[in-house]
Symmetry: C3
């Protein structure tokens, strides 16, 4: 069924339990405006074919003006009025903004920074999520909200808190950390051994001597990593308190999520994401033009958290208003950006925000409706997307991206590389992107997943910098290779175990025997080093690992070239066939062209073919797959009109035409359905 | 009467109540040197034709060695000895340097930084000017000083404190802030509404929950701005305590001032300046060469504080001695710089300092007399200025700069732009200078005044960045335009009201109807955008406002050019005739050449003619006017001798010659008087 | 006697009291590994011809697991096992790492930063060395160690603490500072006068009002300098506590040292170094290539601390593992670097570290043996050096570098220049290096010594930036010049006295009369200034001092050239003959070529001839001298093989050949002995 305007209007009268499959929306803060204005705003949303609003995420004082005095009525009126406009609602728990009265009366609910400074009450994301008192306040609020809205037909989801971004280091949290460590290690001796605290005489005699640290505060990588683990698990616990409070009353159809922040790494997103029904994240677009690769990778990261479609809780196309240069997206670019979101697996996109607050830290932020209550220019473009979502919704419903290539990513590894860069220019994400970029350019859908995920569905798995690798993860990778998989390690792989201790085999640690080779030594590079072999000539930069084959069937793919002293003639990349699979270790970075050749080799070795059909330069293709069909989202990001010839007849879901080729203007988008009944 | 050496010497014997009209002087710290040396120093000053010294600004311990034990005798001896050398005295109140004994006994008189750290006693400008205890100490000291020196014939003025530059954030000051807020808003609900605290749930339930913040600490622009207002008014109160204590005994002829710091913006200088008899400020010159425009604008700012002539309390021409590169002014450049000071309206210039202290934070600072008590090379140049001040004094007496063009400036606007730059390269002062510079180059005297000043005397008023504009200010501007004035707004005008809330009409807020146009949207610029129209071709950079005419008689002056997406073909500058006046809004920055053409257009529209006569490139002219004469200070800052042909016969006050033209060597200066008895 | 493998093996059985004359070693941390591994490690060391290990520097918890419970047995077993492998031992006192149990129980033993923050127990170099409690703990530990090992035949030395690098600012330390000031000045009035606290009203009424500061905290250069002096003397006291505790039992043959850090300047190394038997320092080499000049100067600084040979306690050739780019030394470069160490006067070189810890802040640091217990590639190169040390030991025994040129250096001067740079690009070490570099390039051995050292043995003494010069130091220099010495002052000389007060004569202060000239004024330079004269044409940069001859026999060597305003035609360098000596003042920096010509002139004036014979470009020569022989260490750092022709027949101690010339491959080294029995 095509979900058209007609059915929407019907829905506005008597809400269906099923919202449209593709949702376009915005953050709406009714508590900031007179109730008499609400209808005008919702009318404007409806005209823009929007079907979802996020509400209440910062409304605690409006919901509980004084301790114990609650007022949820206004919110119910707002939700129902939205529903009457065909607009579904995601209710935010207001816990990222505890009321000032609470902060004044119970300052222990506020974050204490690592330097001992406590936040004041007049900011946001300043709640101490480790505080038991605060968790109790959150539970009470959430239960009241879910009791009231858990059966509301317009409410389709819950967003917990907002952009988790602060950790408290107060004494009570430190005490929780001590208990956590005791639970993890049992005895202080085991901890001392795991962290090799004998180094620099940091041997502990009791758990309560150990400070929770922020990054490389103090002096032990084991401590750094366990601090991060504790932070991640604490946040998960805090989130679980809220999930339980919501689920106590909420119907199962209401999905619980939060809004994460892409590459942000305060906490391990795999840990925190696992209890959510669906992943949500915030994806601002304020750099003038839309970069499909740089912006694409975090989408794949977020999709990989649960291996499922996800929601984009916040996007924006205009100035953000603070100190940074925030540049409006080009006309039409937001449309391509949002369709790219869908291409990566988003099923909902929501603008931040509907209308600007008149004051507050983001009063200069762009919005769909300006301070005067009239639409901003971007509103028109957004309305177009709304119409298109309605048109294409049924075609896209039930589809997801599907990849045969995975890139492995882990937070412990990323943290540790950034803690100990060994070269200030070295960056864990850049390292990952050096493999992601050519894969994307060559037309592959990419999954970004953690190393403990079942990998059997992938033909090729690339691990660009799994510096920290646990034994269990190593076993998983071994299983993968022995099952016929093609595994590639990049620089800085498998150097540390789960305690952030060096694996005593040198790199790749527990996989050294499987590889039949090891990293002999490594160094930062002052000057580029020539490298040549199977993948042609290239220049290595930043960092080099000198490999040494130990098994006779290891093949050297690339060698460092003279004159570079220790590296002269030494292996820079090796590979070994293992059954029908293979294991490759690449100790160098070859530059953009070199990495592309390396990736092409991997694809050939893995017998992979591109997921997407060939398109002109500057045209992007995203693929979503269901059992009965494939949907291709095709976008023209080049500076001229482009014609894309299709491999077979498809149906353009935006025009309802059957086409063999599409002509796309600059920033043009087509949503092409390939299915039996179409191609026939 | 010409004020020559003879009369000075007479004055030294029996002081006249009237000091010379132009005063050259220095900061003299007799308490740092043996009394036996005083006479030698004053002899050297007298030889340099200096007639003023600043004393006692950091002499508290010498004046009150122990609590309650005062010693003012040495200061009286120093003042009288100065007077006997024809040298008048400005007495500094020593409050920028409370004694260490006081800091030790009463640490609450010390500044507590926003981070909670309290200053130690062994620095300067570390007094907590909000402290009631400290104010009481200051009052007591000032009353004793004024009782002793309020009738001293050599004392011509008082300088309060020194370079106000620190604000305390201690709990008692916070409590004052709470009371101040309560007085301003009456109820917490009104404050919540004014600041839109509903945004991000920052709603307050009591005034004492609100922290006084430093810049963008915490999260509300209304709070930021009111914190600044409180700081400004607190400083005014503190200063008023001292003014009252001095005035209790001091004769009215003794002028009370302080030494401000040009563009410095800790506090609103209009607020703090209003109670002073005369504005004083410090104007270091340590960049090797003298920049008449960059250095000229803050003079006009300072003159505009009260719309009157002012004093330059500190100038310097040599190294400042700290970590920065401080480069000596070229030989002769200080003379042009000081005569330019006079040209901008200074009636007094004082060097910092007379002779270097042997130790202390500025021991490496340049001075007129070196550590050995002998003159430094700059002393000779300074003496020449002294002679010239004596010669030209009577000609200049009673004159002031007079402008038909004003640039509007407000501290709330400057603060808010710098708090929320939206482009890191955007700078509120640069924006002002983009109009000031061409006006100066085209030969205009410029007033820099606040938007609530009576503007009726100006033909052209330019407001480059009044981001914050109150309703009263808007009314004042409306009156100006309706009275036939020509008003020009630059980028980032009239976006916020007095609470730093967005005006709900979009820009220019309450003047949108008067303009008949509004700012449709704005963005930072990543790449320059071509703009063309009435003012030719130019490239816009950094930031762009897209204008939209709403009234039919609005004329579009400039348009953005393709390819720049949203901006293509949209208005970048519009104007509207309103009676005999006009109102113009410029949403772009056109680069140096473009801004000059824009300014030329404004001048033509306002039927303005240059104040100064035409001169060769590199020659600067400053004009001071009295009822009966005009005085032109002409300086050659080019790298070759220049001949300046005068529009009519003038008298060179430095040579007593009547001239039709003057030939100026490099760094040459002429002081030309145009009066009926001269031109005849 | 040649010290060959044979005798070593004998030594391993029954230790001789005399270790080999040249010692190669490593830091060994037996407490981090199972005792069963010790023998394997020591075997590997023995195979590498290593003869020394440093142990126990961070082993406090292993030595005293609980308060008052000591366990020194394991250390004794480790030492004796080492000795049985022909490996001598330096025992580190473990005081840079107090146990966590101690930090927990007695937090006053931890450093409190200047901002008030106290360190936690889980880091290193965090002990408060001013704490009496901590000194008592250190004394007790050291006495137990020396009682146990003070007669152990394998123990040849003691290293106190590790890389002194933190100072506490806690209240008890502040009180020590007050007592120290009282002892130094007697009365507060004398202090006030010495520091000119009248400036900015910083007059103190009691010593306990004065804060110990960190750099330019607060506002008085006298305070800054005395804070540094106190820190230096406190550290000396702390070290003396440990020296006394060790010496209580240790045999005199056991040398007491510490490991300093080259140019590091927390404390005055002349103060702290004087009580040590031998200077030790840490000299990392992690920049890929070996820079003989940049790395050479700190060797000469360290040798100059006591004017004796010294030890290199730590060197490294590979990645350091943290955030910095740490680049492995080229193959062969470490060998040249270590032989250069010997050339500068080192008699011992020790690698950090033997084998990497599995965890801890330096787990990624390079080592000789990798995490797997197998040698790293660098081990082979290190073994070669070990063999060479054995071969060349007897030739080098008893020799030392010997210089006829000295560069003067003082910590107060270096601190003060860096506190008040006057040009951000000005750097006290760069200034010193501008003289050091050409001297080195011209073939001279250079002593770097303090200005109070007996200088009579030098023909030429250069003082590039003795900004702070005491009267006693001035007298020493006067004696030197009057005794026929040639003294050269560079920029920023003799500006301040021992209280960091300006000398009232202008520069060069108390030596102005001796020079017959003074610095008239100084300035930073924005643009380069041409300078010409005796030393040709050059460009001055950064900073310029304008000199003024006062005596008739002063000769102007160089003059600033127009157009540069005040400087035009003024003297930039002057000289005066004084008896058979001379005194030269250079107020400018002439660039690399200009400085070389200036230095050549000085050498000619001082009738000096190079210490080393002529060699091809890129070949370095180091000379060590004994009564009966000279030893030349010749290294080829160029990129091609080089032939070095010798001035006479020498014996190559590494090959035992008599040679007239040596052919050196890239990174080749020869150790050439010139002695009567060889040249005959």
């Amino acid at each position: 069924m095509t979900f058209g305007i007609g059915s929407i209007c019907a829905a506005a009268q008597k809400p269906s339990i099923e919202p449209p499959p593709l949702l376009l929306g915005a953050a709406w803060y009714p508590e900031q405006w007179p109730e008499s204005r609400w209808n005008a705003d919702l009318d404007l949303m409806q005209k823009a074919h929007m079907h979802v609003v996020r509400v209440a995420e910062f409304a605690w004082t409006a919901l509980e003006p004084q301790e114990g005095k609650y007022d949820l009525d206004w919110l119910e009126r707002a939700i129902n009025l939205a529903g009457q406009h065909g607009i579904y609602v995601i209710v935010g728990t207001p816990t990222a903004g505890p009321p000032v009265w609470m902060a004044t009366k119970y300052p222990d609910i506020l974050v204490t920074e690592a330097n001992g400074k406590q936040y004041t009450g007049s900011t946001r994301n300043h709640d101490n999520s480790n505080s038991n008192r605060y968790r109790q306040f959150a539970r009470e609020m959430d239960e009241r909200l879910s009791k009231r809205f858990g059966h509301n037909p317009y409410v389709i989801g819950w967003q917990i808190d907002n952009e988790y971004s602060n950790q408290s280091y107060d004494p009570a949290t430190q005490a929780q950390f001590h208990a956590w460590l005791e639970h993890r290690y049992g005895t202080i001796d085991k901890l001392n051994q795991a962290w090799t605290t004998a180094y620099d005489n940091q041997t502990y005699s009791a758990f309560n001597e150990i400070p929770l640290v922020n990054g490389t505060g103090d002096n032990n990588p084991g401590l750094w990593l366990d601090s991060k683990r504790f932070i991640s698990e604490s946040l998960r616990d805090y989130q679980k308190v809220q999930i339980d409070a919501i689920r106590k009353y909420a119907e199962p159809r209401q999905k619980i999520t939060t809004n994460m922040m892409g590459w942000y790494d305060l906490y391990d997103h795999y840990t925190v994401g696992q209890d959510l029904d669906i992943i949500g994240w915030d994806n601002p677009q304020v750099e003038g033009s839309f970069d499909p690769i740089k912006n694409g990778a975090p989408h794949d990261l977020m999709r990989g958290l649960k291996g499922q479609n996800y929601w984009v809780m916040e996007t924006t196309a205009g100035p953000r208003g603070g100190g940074d240069a925030s540049i409006q997206l080009d006309k039409g670019a937001m449309r391509t950006a949002i369709w790219a979101d869908i291409g990566h697996g988003a099923d909902l996109v929501s603008y931040w925000q509907w209308r600007d607050a008149l004051n507050g830290g983001e009063a200069n932020h762009g919005a769909l409706v300006d301070v005067d209550g009239e639409p901003d220019p971007i509103y028109t473009e957004y309305s177009q997307i709304g119409r298109e979502f309605e048109k294409a919704g049924s075609a896209i419903q039930g589809t997801s991206p599907e990849a045969s290539v995975a890139i492995l990513h882990s937070y412990p590894s990323r943290w540790d590389i950034n803690w100990q860069k060994m070269n200030p220019a070295y960056d864990a994400i850049n390292s990952l992107m050096s493999y992601y970029t050519p894969l994307h350019e060559l037309g592959y859908t990419i999954d970004i997943v953690p190393p403990d995920r079942d990998l059997s569905k992938y033909k090729l798995v690339i691990a660009p910098g799994l510096e920290v690798l646990t034994q269990a993860e190593a076993d998983n990778l071994t299983r993968y290779v022995k099952g016929g998989g093609h595994l590639v390690f990049g620089q800085r792989s498998a150097m540390k175990d789960e305690n952030n201790s060096r694996w005593p085999q040198r790199q790749p640690g527990p996989l050294t025997q499987l590889l039949g080779a090891r990293v002999e030594q490594f160094t930062s590079l002052k000057n580029p080093v020539a490298i040549s072999g199977e993948w042609g000539e290239s220049k290595g930069e930043l960092f080099a690992e000198q490999l040494r084959p130990q098994a006779s069937d290891v093949k050297v793919l690339m060698r460092y070239q003279a004159p570079h002293s220790w590296l002269d003639g030494e292996p820079a990349a090796v590979t070994r066939k293992i059954g029908t699979g293979s294991f490759t270790y690449i100790g160098a970075w070859f530059g953009d062209a070199g990495m592309k050749r390396a990736v092409q080799w991997m694809l050939t070795e893995s017998s992979l073919k591109p997921d997407d059909f060939a398109v002109p330069d500057g045209v992007e293709v995203y693929r979503r797959v269901a059992a009965d069909r494939k949907v291709f989202i095709v976008e023209n990001l080049s500076h001229a009109a482009q014609t894309v010839v299709l491999p077979n007849m498809m149906k353009d879901a935006l025009t309802d035409q059957r086409v063999h080729s599409v002509k796309l203007p600059v920033y043009g988008v087509a949503v092409l359905v390939q299915a039996k009944d179409v191609t026939r």
